[in-house]
Structures are given as C-alpha cells and as structure tokens.
C-alpha cells in the first residue's frame, strides 16, 4: 500500500499536501455516500432564498466603521486548558509544518431618526423670539452590513498542513460576526459614540436649515 502511494506521488509530481487533501476529499465523499445511502435525505433548507425590498424614511446622521480581526494558530500545550485542548495541542505539536493566518474585515453601523415618526406637533415655531423648537424621534442604531470581502493580513501554511479553504474562512467570519455583536451589546461605547455624533449632526443640520430665514433652532430628541 505504501509503495503504491510513493509511486503515486512520484508519478503525479504533486506535493504531499495536495495528495492528503485529495485523499481526505475522497474519504469525505465515501462517508457522505455511506451516510446518505443509509437514510432519507431531508433536503437542504439552506437553498431557500429570501428577498425583501422596503420603503423607509430614515434620516441617517452618522456612520461608524468597526474593524474586527481573528487569528488562526495551533494550540500550544502551555496554553491548553482541560483535557480536550491538551489532546488537541499534543496532536498539533506532532503535525509537520505550521498553520497560521490572520483575517479581518469591517462592519458598518449607522445612526438614524425615523422620519415617519415625526408629527406636525413636533415642530414648534415661536415668531416672537424667532425660535424653532424641534422634537425629533429617538435616535436609533442599526447594522448597515459588513464587507463581503475578507482581508488576509497574514497567511503561512507550510509542510503537510491543510490549506485554509473558503468554508473555513466563512466559518471564521461567522464567529467574528457573533463576537463583534456581543462586544457591541456589552460595551455601550460603540452606540454612545455613534449617537453622540448623530445628535451633533442633527443640531448643525437643522440649525443651518432654519438659519436661512434667521431662526434659531433648539433640537430635542424623544426618548426611545
């Protein structure tokens, strides 16, 4: 069997990593065939495509760019906690080569007021003092989205280690997304900074609008 493998490597002139990956793929395919032949397929729910187009009336006042980074590296025995990680660390130490990478991407948040909630009574004009008191709807924040592309800040996979493929990158991005959202929820600094900027912008924008006619503007915000 080993002789055959050596000849196979020699003939194909491909590196060991490619061969190992190919064998892994064949093994995975065989497992999949064995699995699916033994049970009825339920159908993939991931193939359901969703589409929604909605009309909104948002006045966007600030946008924030948040960067998130994650690194992939082998587990070291000194840092391993518990049995599972220790076993994995020993396994990693026995592997030939390195597998290190760093990925990052940006996520965008925006602060806005929903103008559909603006009532005629929210604008009060005092002609005697030339003052407009404007009570704006509460500032809301939302995720606008994230970069589709992922930045590869570092990549070093050597020896017999498997390459980092698209599926693994997608999984890492998913983990980064979850971690980022948790951080934003737990740390009010993110939303506070964004809301502060939005309040300032609302003040300057509406003041400049009314200043054309010589009015002063007092901007207030409703409670969320």
């Amino acid at each position: 069997m080993w002789h055959l493998l050596v000849i196979f490597v020699f003939i194909t002139k491909f590196n060991i990593t490619t061969i190992v990956m190919k064998l892994k793929s064949i093994g995975a395919a065989m497992l999949a065939i064995a699995f699916f032949s033994g049970c009825n397929t339920g159908g993939s729910m991931q193939n359901t495509f969703y589409s929604e187009v909605k009309s909104v009336n948002k006045l966007v006042l600030a946008q924030m760019t948040i960067s998130k980074m994650a690194t992939i590296d082998d587990l070291s025995l000194s840092e391993a906690k518990g049995l599972k990680q220790s076993v994995a660390a020993i396994g990693d130490a026995m592997k030939i080569g390195n597998r290190k990478a760093a990925y990052s991407y940006d996520t965008y948040m925006r602060a806005f007021i929903d103008l559909t909630n603006l009532q005629p009574t929210d604008v009060h004009v005092d002609e005697s003092t030339k003052t407009i008191t404007l009570t704006l709807p509460a500032i809301q924040t939302e995720y606008l989205g994230r970069d589709a592309e992922i930045r590869e800040d570092h990549y070093r996979v050597t020896g017999l280690r498997s390459e980092i493929d698209a599926e693994e990158r997608a999984n890492i991005k998913e983990q980064m997304n979850t971690a980022l959202k948790t951080e934003v929820e737990q740390n009010p600094v993110f939303r506070d900074k964004l809301s502060l900027q939005a309040r300032g912008k609302a003040n300057t924008y509406f003041s400049s609008l009314a200043a054309r006619d010589g009015y002063n503007v007092i901007v207030k915000f409703k409670e969320s």
Partner: protein
C-alpha cells in the same frame, strides 16, 4: 479472589467515568483567537434613506478548474446626500430643490449565516479545489457589481428617487414652513 476482581473492575469503571467527566467538563477546542473590535472611524452625515433591500443571492464563480458555490445575504441601501442639496429660493415662500444622485450601498448582511459555502470543487482530479482569499474576494466583488446592476434594472432606484421626492418635500416643508418643490432631473437614477 473474586472480591479483588470486583474492586479492579470498579476502579476501572470509576477511572473511565472520571476521564469522561473530565473530557465533558473541559473547554472546547478552538484554534481561532478573537481580537477586540476597534472603531476605525465615525463620520457625521445627513442622508435620506428611502429604500432598504435584503436579498439572498447565489455566489457562483470559477478560477480555472476551481469552482465555488455559496449563498450570501446582501443588504442594499439607497440614500441621498442632504448636505449638498441644491436649494433655490423663489420669492419668500417657495423653495426649489433638485434631487441629488443616489448613493447605493451594498454590504454583506450581519445576520447569522449570511455567507455559507455550499460547495467547492475542481475539474482537475489532482488539483486542490481551494480558492485563495484573493480569488474568492474577486468572485464576491463581481456578485456585488451584478447586484448593483440588478438594483437599477429592477427599478428599485426609480422607486427610491420617487419616494425621496415625496419625503424630502414633506420634511423640508415642515422644517422651513415654506412651499417646497423637489424636482428630479433623472428619475431612473445614475447607474
């Protein structure tokens, strides 16, 4: 003799149970280290957003013999810059406003499972099916460009501009107390 055997069996069972409990209690293996999120920038703006789009799109692309098929959830947003509005006062009571070009922003959604790789394969038996990050990014970039074209083709921009005219008229009218006329020089947008 029998008692000793029972003790040994009991000890082995206890040891196995201990290892199983230790295994179950130990933290999961993860080779991914998360770094703290950092605020890159915060910018103030005044943009009127009139249409939000969320859509699942297939991501299908090839680089040589290597192929990928994935599903991506995209967030699209059509807005108008109010900081640089052209406003012309006609007399004391009428303001004429020209609707500016739309700002179309397209991002991947932050909802869970917004990018799922369904399949990746190669036509060459001896080649790896793996796409590099740069190759995958280039495919995603094409998908975004196609989605932008689709936004125009499906009339979403036209709809956004029409709604911006209505929304801007009522907002500026309420703020200035004047009659506001918003004109749209390009109802189909600026593709």
């Amino acid at each position: 003799m029998k008692t000793i055997r029972l003790i040994i069996i009991f000890a082995i069972v206890i040891a196995i149970a201990g290892v199983v409990v230790w295994w179950q209690m130990s933290p999961e293996v993860s080779r991914v280290t998360m770094h703290k999120a950092e605020i890159k920038d915060v910018k103030a703006m005044a943009q009127l957003c009139t249409v939000d789009i969320t859509e699942d799109v297939p991501v299908k692309g090839s680089v040589g013999p290597r192929h990928i098929f994935a599903r991506q959830t995209i967030n699209g947003s059509i807005s108008f810059d109010l900081d640089n509005l052209t406003m012309e006062e006609i007399g004391d009571s009428v303001i004429k406003v020209t609707l500016p070009p739309e700002i179309v922003e397209i991002y991947e959604s932050t909802e869970p499972n917004s990018y799922v790789v369904i399949d990746q394969w190669t036509d060459d038996f001896f080649d790896s099916p793996n796409l590099t990050t740069a190759q995958e990014n280039a495919i995603k970039s094409k998908v975004r460009d196609n989605f932008r074209k689709k936004i125009y083709a499906k009339g979403y921009v036209k709809r956004a501009r029409a709604e911006a005219v209505v929304n801007l008229t009522s907002m500026l009218g309420a703020m200035t107390g004047k009659q506001v006329t918003v004109t749209d020089p390009s109802p189909a947008g600026y593709p």
